[in-house]
Symmetry: C2
Subunit: 319 residues, 2 copies
């Protein structure tokens, strides 16, 4: 029986998984993404994460039928990755597939991180009942993946930038430098900046205290979840603002595309889970043009491993 490797390359962590032919995870491993050293250092860490996952699955990397990588950045046909956002010193091009293939002794394919996660939910997860699907990955930023008529839609390679749909003309400054993007209200990076400004103006919150207590350098999804459990009013208020923006932005995408299903994933989407998916669904409703037939909204069923499982699908003949 063949097995396959999958890597989800994120700005914070590298998630590796080894799956069997039925897409059951038989081994997984996680490593922090290096914060310096450039693409070669990141590639070495990916190799180690994959070796850890293969060890857990009791398979030699060279025995894998192949390894898929879901990566940020601009991805060429040959697996070269250029301008990978949130990754250290990765502005130029790096032959990621060739480097990993040489190191691991098996075929390596690279795909867009958000799109492979959407494909995984479409084929194996919360979207498997639908032929059209919008994946909304709510984390540091807000990424989007599309399945239309059973096929991924990537445009000229740059589709899915749902986080940069404009929900407020002249509105909040986004981390991308523009104004009024959905991500400027709902992205974790933008939310952290917003909290800092509110604290600078005298607002009170335990968010940064919790961050230090848990040894984090940023307000991670887990810190946001804990703050909610503690009844932190500022955290609640900033998340409420994010949900309102997600409602407007996701509804706008649905008005344009009329997809059957919406899957909410990403660090925050998965950590906050069903209650927040339901709140986003509710926030969409007043903006839906065909409001008698809203799309079905789900939390990503494959959870944190969805990106790595989706990457492993890149090696399948039909993928």
């Amino acid at each position: 029986m063949s097995s396959y490797g999958g890597i989800d390359l994120g700005g914070t962590k590298i998630q590796a998984a080894v799956v069997d032919e039925d897409n059951t995870v038989i081994g997984s491993a996680r490593r922090p993404t290096p914060t310096s050293g450039g693409p070669a250092v990141v590639a070495a860490e990916i190799e180690q994460a994959l070796r850890d996952a293969a060890k857990a699955a009791e398979v030699e990397p060279a025995e894998l039928a192949g390894v898929g990588v879901g990566s940020p950045g601009v991805i060429a046909e040959d697996g070269t990755v250029t301008s990978a956002r949130n990754l250290p010193d990765w502005e130029g091009s790096f032959p990621l597939a060739a480097t990993l293939s040489a190191a691991l002794g098996t075929e390596v394919k690279v795909g867009n991180d958000v799109q492979v996660a959407t494909d995984a939910e479409f084929k194996l997860g919360a979207g498997r009942l639908y032929s059209s699907l919008l994946g909304v990955f709510w984390g540091t930023g807000v990424g989007g993946g599309l399945i239309l008529g059973g096929q991924p839609w990537t445009g000229r390679g740059g589709a899915g930038e749902i986080g940069h749909m404009v929900v407020e003309m002249g509105g909040a400054r986004c981390t991308c430098g523009r104004r009024g993007c959905m991500e400027a209200y709902a992205g974790r990076a933008a939310m952290e900046g917003h909290v800092q400004r509110l604290v600078g103006k005298g607002s009170k919150t335990d968010l940064f205290k919790l961050m230090k207590e848990h040894g984090r350098a940023r307000l991670t999804s887990g810190i946001w979840a804990r703050a909610l459990e503690h009844g932190d009013k500022l955290a609640q208020q900033v998340l409420d603002r994010a949900v309102v923006a997600l409602g407007a932005g996701v509804a706008s995408a649905v008005n344009l595309l009329d997809v059957e299903g919406v899957v909410i994933g990403g660090g925050l989407g998965i950590r906050l889970g069903h209650p927040y998916a339901a709140r986003i669904e509710q926030a969409m409703q007043p903006h839906l043009f065909n409001d008698n037939r809203p799309p079905h909204v789900h939390v990503a069923a494959l959870g944190d491993l969805g990106g790595a499982i989706g990457a492993s699908l890149l090696l399948r003949p039909t993928a």
Copy 2:
């Protein structure tokens, strides 16, 4: 040589065209849409418009290889039309294809008005160089049509509602009853309401004077164009506001879909032409995420006849 009929059924006018096998228009006619009497009266007027166009083309209606109709509303496979917006007393269902087919003695097919106009621009007009296209029909409302991977994308039948993408959370009241839709700033109906409110607050404009002079009951595209020619400051200001909203909304759609081309049609889009298409393109730029590779923006090349020509394509074997 076969010829085909096409009808563009709008809230203001019924445009009919007869085309030959090369899609050259060999006859056309236009009639005002009845403002009362319900679907049967509208169908009788469509029949007359088609007869007028056939006469101009020197063809008998029964000799046509078929007639296509681009209609608003919800359109069933068999050509029944339900809830046709902007048409008189057309809330229920009416067998439009069957009625016209019996009256004209030829096959009749009905499609969505915005989608057939987009198909026409894709196959014969400004979009023919692209495999992915967004049609933006800027008129009474703002409609959208999509071609993705060379095929129309209609979702579950309700896609393309670009006018109801949210560009301003909690913003201007839209004619659909919601808030902050692009159409609330850019649709001709909403713009007329906005001008009325500004005049009520003491603003000066010649728009309504021009409307009366030209015997119109509404601020038509022609009245807006004339007011611009007269240097009407309020008209300019309200159109500027529309362009800003169109820039944000169309850029949002492009960020999501990364289409190659955008075609601006509709009454206002065609009447205001290239200078305004260029202004919309400019207003999109600050919101485009992939701003080094904007889509090409064009005015609809088939002009006022695009809808009728597109409808005639419904009868083609490959359409």
